[in-house]
């Protein structure tokens, strides 16, 4: 499919869509505060960067997202491991896990702002909370997914539980863990943005909110464009690390399935 010719066609199609959009907005004289033409969006995009306004907000949001991701997934990995390895702990913690899993985590954002304030902390906590569950569930499933034959092989060698964990269960869980990390990364971004919507002094989410108040729809479009670009980069970071670690996992389908299960 990806011949140079098709690639050119792809670009042509994108150009055509933008052109139609631009034309339609001009012909039907759609007001700027309803739907801006691509040209106005690009102007807004350029102005945002030229004034230095976007750069600061980008760092705030990306920083919150990454901090939340690291803290949330680290905690999720530890708790997931503990639950996967200990039946009694699983039994007693499971009701909490199920309850929190069913809850839409973003709905907690207002509370978290109350508890942690308008600054960085509340955004990091919210991002971490949203990133937490996909990784914890995937860690549990992954650690439990070692085939019986492989466990028997390790046992037949008189391997200790610790050795079975490090030499079998953990590497075996890696496809699940990376599938979880991919979702967690995007979820962390969502968590940070939602928390910024609810109450913040800076960040791209706050920027969208304030542009909404001033009817700067072209500006909002430009920030949305920026956010999907950030999402792509963050996702790319995880997938490229995954490509290095999981060179042996020939079937990427496998982990995609695990990923789909977790999108909630």
């Amino acid at each position: 499919m990806s011949s140079p010719r098709n690639f050119a066609l792809r670009l042509l199609l994108i150009a055509l869509v933008l052109l139609l959009w631009e034309g339609a907005v001009r012909v039907f004289e759609v007001p700027l505060f309803i739907l801006p033409a691509p040209s106005s969006v690009f102007v807004a995009f350029y102005r945002g960067f030229a004034s230095g306004l976007y750069v600061d907000h980008i760092w705030v949001t990306v920083g919150e997202t990454l901090l939340g991701f690291v803290l949330g997934t680290a905690l999720a990995f530890v708790l997931g491991t503990v639950i996967a390895l200990s039946r009694p702990l699983e039994y007693f913690l499971y009701p909490f896990v199920v309850m929190f899993q069913a809850m839409p985590k973003v709905a907690l954002a207002p509370l978290i702002i109350v508890w942690f304030g308008l600054g960085l902390a509340s955004k990091v906590v919210n991002a971490g909370l949203v990133a937490f569950f996909p990784l914890m569930v995937n860690t549990i499933v992954g650690l439990r997914s070692a085939e019986e034959d492989k466990v028997n092989l390790m046992r037949s060698l008189a391997a200790s539980r610790t050795q079975i964990f490090w030499m079998l269960q953990l590497p075996n869980a890696m496809p699940y863990i990376f599938a979880g990390l991919e979702i967690a990364m995007i979820f962390a971004l969502i968590g940070a943005i939602v928390a910024e919507f609810v109450g913040a002094q800076s960040g791209l989410g706050m920027l969208i909110q304030s542009m909404n108040f001033t009817m700067d729809v072209a500006g909002q479009f430009s920030v949305l464009l920026l956010l999907s670009f950030i999402g792509l980069v963050l996702n790319w970071i995880v997938t490229s690390v995954r490509g290095r670690v999981l060179f042996w996992d020939a079937s990427t389908k496998f982990s995609d399935e695990a990923a789909k299960k977790e999108v909630a």
């Binding site: 028997n152 092989l153 046992r155 037949s156 060698l157 008189a158 050795q163 030499m167 590497p171 890696m174």
Partner: protein, 274 residues
């Protein structure tokens, strides 16, 4: 104790160690479930295996031969009786046993060499000497040059050879094989039989080899134990007096045919092959 092989002339071409007993199985029984209504998988198994012997076990599905192997591997406790390896009861996994399962059970994140060294890593043996040994054993099974490959790059037969080398790397006293070639095609299977015999002659391990195939059992075994199902019991024990090393041609001889027929008959009498 009744020992039907006693007195039968051991083949002269095999340099057997003196017939020292390495495994003694005494009144071994296994019941799944319990509370009186459990399923009896093994009932009163009694036998001894000599050091350096190749014992084939044949039996229909569900005759408990895999259960017996799991008990010998220490993966499962016996309900009654016990099995002694070198005089000490098998009460859990032991480091002097190597197991080859029906599937190769290789770890995809480890290279061929890494998979072979798994027992050395688990048992914290010196990696240098073990790597040398691994290379020698890989050469023995014709896998030189594949050390840094990954399992998914190998054919089924090659994977099972890696599994065999892995089972031998820590120089176990006993090699347990649970239908190791059952998933291979007929031609690869015969090749593997010849290779296993060669490795066995060179390494002089005691081997307990479980199979569905009567001809495989005869081709490889010094003795063939026939098990009967429900509950799993020892039916007949045959001593195979065919010169070593056996070639595939031996399978077309009358003597071979006679063994196969006698074992089939014994199997049929005891419940039959599927």
């Amino acid at each position: 104790m009744d020992e039907p092989w006693k007195g039968s002339a051991l083949d002269a071409s095999v340099q057997h160690a003196p017939a020292r007993e390495i495994i003694a199985i005494r009144h071994l029984s296994k019941t799944y479930g319990g509370r009186g209504e459990g399923v009896t998988a093994l009932s009163d198994i009694d036998c001894t295996i000599r050091d350096g012997e190749f014992l084939s076990i044949v039996g229909p599905s569900g005759c408990g031969k895999s259960t017996l192997l799991k008990i010998l591997a220490g993966l499962m406790p016996a309900s009654d009786g016990n099995a002694l390896l070198n005089g000490t009861p098998i009460e859990g996994p032991r480091r002097d046993i190597g197991v080859v399962f029906q599937s190769p059970v290789l770890f995809p994140w480890r290279s061929v060499l890494g998979n072979v060294l798994l027992p050395a890593d688990v048992q914290r043996l010196a990696r240098e000497t073990m790597t040398k040994r691994a290379n020698d054993l890989l050469a023995l099974v014709g896998l030189s040059g594949f050390e840094q490959r990954y399992p998914w790059e190998l054919s089924g037969g090659m994977q099972q050879r890696v599994a065999l080398v892995r089972a031998l790397i820590h120089d176990p006293a006993l090699l347990l094989m649970d239908e190791p070639f059952g998933a291979l095609d007929a031609m690869t299977r015969e090749q593997m039989n010849v290779e296993l015999q060669r490795i066995w002659i060179e390494s002089r391990k005691t081997v307990v080899f479980i199979t569905h195939s009567t001809s495989e059992a005869v081709f490889l075994g010094d003795r063939v134990m026939v098990m009967t199902p429900r509950p799993g019991k020892i039916g007949d024990l045959f001593t195979v007096d065919l010169p070593r090393p056996r070639t595939l041609d031996v399978m077309t001889t009358d003597a071979f045919g006679v063994y196969v027929r006698r074992i089939r008959k014994s199997l049929n009498a005891g419940g039959g092959l599927e």
